[in-house]
Structure formats: C-alpha cells, structure tokens
C-alpha cells in the first residue's frame, strides 16, 4: 500500500506535537520544583531561555512573572509552542489524518482538545499546577497507548514513531539545558546536596529516577546524570536510545518498503551517535554542556529536514517550477514545527498554497 507523502508528514508532526505536549508538562512541573524562595523568577526564566522564546515572550509581557510564564507555556494560544497551541496543531494534523488513523486515536484527541480549552487560570497556581501537568502528561500517555494498541503498523507508523523519537530526543536535551542554566558545576558540600536534590528532581520529571538509582553509585555526581540522559542504552528518554530506535524505523522503511531515500538520514544518525559516544559526559561538561546540547538540537533539526526532503510533501521529482515550495517545511527555528496557516476556504473557494496546515 503506497502512503501519501502528505499523510507521512502529518503523522510525523502529529507525533511530534503530542510528544512536545508531554514534555512541556514535564518541564513546567520540574521548573516549579526548582523554584528557590525569593528566586522564583530565575527558575521560570530558564524555561523561556531554553526555548529561545525571550523575544516572543517580551512582546506581550513586561515583567517576568512566574504566573505569566506558566500561562505562556500552558494556555497561551498566541504561543504556537504552548501546550494548547501544540494540541491545536496536533488535532489539525489528526483531522487531515482521519482517513488513516484509528477512530479511537481521533476520538481521544478530539475530546482532549476540547477539555483543554476549559482549563482555568487558577489551575496554574500552587498545588493545582502539578495536578494539571499530570493530567496533560497522562492524556498524552493515553494517546500513546491507544496508538500502540490500535494504529495499523505499515509505513505510516514508522513515520509517526520517527517524529516522536526526534522530538523526544530534542526535549531531553532541553531538559538538561534547564539544569545547566540553574547550576554551576562545583560547590561546597551543602551546595552539592542541593544539587543532588535538583538532579533527582529532574530525573523524576522524566520518570528516570529509580532506573538511575539502580545503575548509579549512591554518591552520584552530575556528570553521571548527564551521561544517563544522553547516552544510556536502555533509558526510554535518553538521546542515544531515541536515536537507535529512529535508526531501526528508518531501516524498516528501507528494507520493508524500499524507501531508499532513508540513506542520508541513516548517515546523519551515525554521525550523531559518534558525537554522543566519542567523549565521556565529564569531557562534554568540561568542553561546555550547553554548546554540546545546542549542537545536538541543530543535528536533530537537520535529521528531521533530511527525512522531510526525502519523503514529505515537498518531495518532488525534479520539477523546477515548484522549487519555491521547498522551503515550506523544516525551516523552523529551535522548537521544530510551528503554527498553522489556517487559510479557511470553506472548501469551495480558493486556497493558498498552504495545505490547511501540516507543518510550519
């Protein structure tokens, strides 16, 4: 069964948006636990910086108030990378994908989208915030479970998984970066204790704390956490595991569906794995963790672009006159797919070249 390029692209982005929502909920949750009394704003500032949203945020906000940041990332519809913005984008993609996703996937997403629209501002405050984050996280996990149990596993599923894994790897690097923004590498004993508490909080945010406990020494240090999140071969959210799973999906597309355009992407993963494993975490931190994470994020954008060029909508058999459309996808900045272009046509009239919004 051939797969429409548009569907492949939609599936890739549906998964990315959903994964982003889950991670955003995790990030907000962990940021709250990083709040030090009197320095609340500092913790929330880091959230904005790792998303490179300083400029966009400043457009509508004059002060950096924790409440404003929470609203910005959870409920602000003008922020395309907020939870609500991502769900909107995920649902629009799912709508175009209704012919091929399962009815149960669509129904759940449709209902979740509707529920999210009813979230009130008070749910962002105090202990309610953590509960809201849990609700969001669990909704995405429900989506993931429904998908696992109902989505037909032909090539479309591989594109869906690729989107999810690339986004997940990207989000793990961001989570590490938030930590980098908070802490200097060394300190006195109580500083170390505080550090350890914070590393623990981060591990809990990605559901990795107990797995880490099993493999790490009792008196662990920061570089071991970094190593765990980047290069552990078994942790579901480690960059390394995401990459090797992505590699497996690309290989499946190549061998079972004859998609030879996977070659460039496979080579890209090969290179990224090299960068990840050639140095120890200690060395990476010494050379500059932030720069390393930044490079990793850029590589992931390239990986997504390579897959997009090979298989998605803008894939064209060398037709010069449509070359202008090539730039439509994948030119996004750090946070991947962006907003929709909702050129409403009521179906009968004219439509811009945008396809009703699959990607940015």
């Amino acid at each position: 069964m051939p797969l429409l390029a548009r569907y492949a692209e939609g599936l890739f982005w549906l998964a990315r948006y959903m994964e982003r929502v889950e991670n955003l909920a995790r990030l907000v949750d962990v940021t709250q636990t990083f709040e030090s009394p009197g320095l609340e704003a500092e913790a929330w500032d880091a959230l904005i910086r790792i998303h490179a949203d300083e400029e966009h945020f400043a457009k509508n906000h004059t002060v950096l108030d924790p409440e404003a940041v929470k609203h910005y990332y959870l409920l602000d519809t003008s922020n395309p990378s907020s939870v609500i913005g991502s769900i909107e984008a995920a649902r629009t993609n799912a709508r175009t994908l209704r012919p091929i996703i399962s009815t149960e996937m669509w129904k759940h997403l449709n209902v979740f989208h509707r529920e999210l629209a009813t979230v009130q501002d008070w749910e962002l405050r105090g202990d309610a915030l953590s509960r809201l984050c849990t609700r969001i996280k669990e909704a995405v996990q429900t989506h993931t479970g429904i998908t696992e149990g109902t989505f037909f596993r032909d090539q479309g599923w591989h594109f869906y998984e690729l989107g999810r894994l690339i986004e997940r790897a990207d989000q793990t690097t961001r989570l590490l970066d938030i930590k980098f923004h908070r802490l200097a590498p060394n300190g006195r004993e109580e500083r170390q204790l505080e550090e350890r508490t914070q590393w623990g909080g981060m591990l809990r945010a990605v559901a990795g704390y107990h797995a880490f406990r099993r493999i790490a020494p009792v008196d662990f240090s920061g570089d071991q956490v970094v190593s765990f999140l980047l290069a552990d071969p078994c942790f579901p959210r480690s960059v390394r595991l995401c990459l090797s799973q992505a590699e497996w999906h690309l290989t499946q597309l190549r061998t079972s569906y004859g998609l030879r355009g996977t070659l460039t992407a496979l080579e890209q993963i090969e290179e990224m794995r090299g960068a990840l494993l050639d140095r120890t975490a200690k060395q990476i931190i010494q050379d500059g963790l932030h720069d390393f994470l930044d490079a990793m994020q850029r590589d992931l954008i390239t990986l997504a672009a390579v897959i997009g060029r090979a298989f998605f909508r803008d894939w064209r058999p060398a037709e010069p006159e449509v070359a202008t459309e090539q730039s439509q996808s994948q030119s996004q900045s750090q946070s991947g797919g962006g907003s929709q272009s909702q050129s409403q046509s009521q179906g009968t009239t004219l439509r811009s070249t945008a396809d009703g919004g699959i990607t940015s």
Partner: protein, 452 residues
C-alpha cells in the same frame, strides 16, 4: 415499536438521545458551519425515533429511484451527443444549452456504461394522500450518506432494545458498493485500478463524510495538491514517488476541478485533470456536467424525460411544477402566488424559497418582483401536505415534517442503498429539513422482505 418506545419512556429517550449526541460530538461526526470567520463544528441533530419503511413501500421506492437514475443517465448521454430529445421537441433547446451547468467540454465524450451520475440522491416526500413524490434530484455530489450509516451505528449503541429482533435491510455495505462501481468505471485494461476520493480538504463542511467514505472504501483521501498530471496521466504523490490513479470519486464541484479548464483561480483542483480524463486515462465520478440534469427547471420535464427514453410511466411522481420561463407557468404563478411555493432554479440547500401561504404581503411583493425581473430563474409548486414522522421534541413526541433521500450507486448497473437519509424539520411547522437550516436526521429502517 410503540410499545418499545413507551417502555423506555420520555425521560429515558431524552437521556439516551443526549448521550448519543455527545458521542457524535466526541467522534467528530460533524459538519462545519462558518460564521464571522469562525469555524464551528456542529453535529447533525439526531432524532432517536426511527423512520420505518415497509418492504412493499421500499420495493416501489427502489424501482422508482432506479428508473429515475436510468432516465437521468440517458438524458445526459443524449444531450452531450445527438440531442434527440431537443430535435424531437420534448425539452426546449435553450433550457439545456443555455443552462449554466451545461458543459461543452462533455460533448461527444463517451463515459463507460453511459453512466454520468454514478452517485445520485433523490429527495422524496409523501403528499397528504400518502403518495411518494420526488422533490428534487441530486446528480452532482449529493451528500448525507455517511449519516445514514452512522445513524444506524448510533442506534445500535444507544438503542439496542429498539433494534432487538428487527429484520432490517443492512446499510453497511455502501462503501463496498461504491468502491465496486468506481473500480468498474476505471479505464479498460487496468488490472487493479487505484481508486481515490478527492476532497477539498479539512475546511470543507462535508469533510467528515469524505473521511467516512474514503475509510469505508479503503482508499486514500487525496486533496488536489496530492495529485499531479504527467503525460495526461494522473498520479498521487507518495513516500515512494508517483503512483498511478485510475478512478476518482471527486467531492468538489465542476468549477473547481481543473483550473486549466474551469475556474482558473481554483487552488483545490488538479491542473490537467480534464485532459487526462478526455484521453481516457482516468475515470471521474460523477462525470462533469451532470448539473444540467438535476436543475430545478429540468426537473419539471422529468416525467416526460422518463417516458421518452424508457417508454415507461414514472414510478415516482413529481410534485406538479409550473415553469415560470413559460408564459403559462408564469401567469399561473403570479396569479396564485399566495398559494404556491416559489423556488429559484439555481439554488440548493433550501435557500431563496418563498412559501406563499406563510409569507407576508411584503414578502410576496418581493417574490413577485424577483419573478418578473428574471422569470426563467423560477419554478413554483403547490403546497403539499408534507409527510410527518413522530419526533422527540421538548414538548414530548410530536409530528414533524420529514423527507427521504435514497442514494443510488451506478457503475455497470444501479444499486440503491436500502432506506436513505431521513431528514426532519425539528421546528414545529417548519418545512425546511436542510442541515444548514436547523434540520436533523433519523435512522431509516427498511423492513426486510419476509421469506416467502
């Protein structure tokens, strides 16, 4: 049925109907209404009391629909070829050649099996004597069939006790039949034709139905931009390159199909599609130019058209119709304006209708002015005592006006989906059943023939 409904009780019916409607919303079984630049997803309101059609009634309806579809296809073939019906003086030439839905591109172009209107919806009411009468033919891209099937699913989920033990004609195989017909009409010699459904996309108000039909047929739902023409052949863009397409169920109007032939500003069509079609490399359903057959002006001639091509009396009667483009028709209409229903010939969806007995003097004057300004744009019909069916309302179970749209699928031969879409006017006294104007729908039960 009456006993079963009373066993559930009014409160029970209401609670279940509400739950069923929430279900429709969650499932996104909706159509989109656009107002003030906002898109609102609405469900087609669902009335839980089924409309029941006996086996004998259905025998007549089915035969009548079949006959009507056969006549429509003969008519379309004739007017795009030798035009005997014009030269024999049955239908005036300007009514056809001057019709805005007439497509010169179709002249002398053969379609397989002579089928132009592959999917046809015939709107039927019963008059005060219980006689079935055709209100309107829909031979372009009739919609609503998804609700027929979804309504049955909904009844099974929410009212299993109403359905228990009922021997009903099934509606589930519509998608299979449709795909069969689309496969039959594919160009000759193609072994395993690729069928697709061409949709304007997610912003179309009937997008849910497009999704539904693509899924039921098991074929890709494509948008214009997914298709590309090379050397007069149609291809779709897939992850593994271009794949040939042989048969297209299109859900966009003629005007938007191909910007090289029709509206040049259409961005939802496929440039070069018509050329590929005329080369015989792809089938398109419905064919281009079928709108000339379901026009309200041509409707008036349908009984004569049936007789002319099939040499049969119409099994289903028309509603008596005055053609205002003819002097006699206009005179009668102007004379009895307050008794008649006046309809524009070019509109669909219940727009632009004046119902004489329910209009103010000012409204009648406006209608009179419009009639005189452009008589050929209008027809008029007597008020008929439109059929009613028991319907759940805030006041209890009350009679509400309803109509029936059976769907016919024609490839090599015609198949009629048992039943059809029963649309019901939910407002007391209202005659307008269109979904765009607050109508709802019911499950339609055709009782199976008992084994003789």
């Amino acid at each position: 049925m009456r006993d079963r409904i009373s066993a559930i009780g009014l409160e029970g019916l209401r609670a279940r109907a509400t739950a069923a409607e929430n279900d429709l919303m969650s499932l996104g079984i909706t159509f989109t209404v656009y107002s003030e630049a906002r898109a609102i997803d609405r469900i087609l309101p669902f009335d839980c009391i089924p409309r029941i059609i006996t086996a004998a009634e259905w025998r007549k309806l089915e035969a009548g629909v079949r006959q009507r579809v056969a006549a429509i296809n003969c008519f379309l073939h004739d007017i795009y070829h030798d035009r005997h019906i014009i030269s024999d003086g049955i239908v005036p030439a300007d009514l056809i050649l001057g019709n805005s839905n007439y497509r010169p591109e179709m002249e002398h172009f053969p379609v397989r099996f002579g089928t132009y209107a592959h999917i046809c919806g015939i709107d039927i009411v019963r008059d005060e004597h219980g006689e079935f009468r055709v209100l309107e033919d829909n031979a372009r891209t009739p919609s609503g069939v998804s609700y027929v099937i979804e309504n049955r699913h909904l009844m099974r989920r929410a009212f299993p006790d109403l359905l228990a033990g009922m021997a009903l004609r099934p509606v589930d195989d519509y998608g299979m039949r449709l795909r069969e017909a689309l496969t039959e009409i594919a160009p000759e010699g193609v072994l395993d034709p690729q069928v697709v459904l061409l949709s304007p996309g997610i912003y179309n108000s009937a997008y849910f139905e497009h999704v539904f039909l693509a899924r039921e047929m098991g074929v890709p739902l494509v948008e214009g931009a997914d298709l590309v023409i090379e050397n007069d052949r149609v291809f779709m863009r897939t992850t593994s390159g271009l794949r040939a397409v042989h048969s297209i169920y299109r859900r966009l109007g003629d005007d938007f199909l191909d910007p090289l032939v029709f509206r040049p500003d259409s961005m939802i069509g496929v440039p070069g599609l018509i050329a590929a079609w005329r080369k015989g490399n792809v089938a398109i359903a419905n064919a281009v130019g079928t709108g000339v057959a379901d026009d309200k002006a041509v409707y008036a001639y349908m009984p004569r058209i049936i007789k002319y091509y099939l040499d049969q009396e119409p099994i289903l009667l028309n509603v008596e119709t005055n053609i205002c483009r003819e002097a006699a028709g206009l005179a009668v209409t102007l004379d009895r304006l307050h008794e008649l229903v006046i309809k524009p010939v070019g509109e669909s969806g219940g727009y632009g209708i004046t119902i004489g007995p329910r209009s103010t003097l000012a409204e009648l004057d406006a209608a009179r002015a419009a009639l005189l300004a452009d008589p050929s744009n209008w027809i008029s019909q007597p008020m008929i005592g439109l059929s009613v069916g028991p319907t759940l309302t805030p006041e209890g179970i009350r009679p509400r006006h309803l109509d029936l749209r059976p769907f016919a699928v024609t490839g090599r031969s015609t198949w009629v989906l048992p039943g059809g879409l029963s649309r019901v006017a939910l407002k007391a006294g209202s005659l307008v059943v269109n979904s765009s104007q607050g109508g709802g729908s019911k499950d339609t039960w055709v009782i199976a023939e008992t084994a003789a």
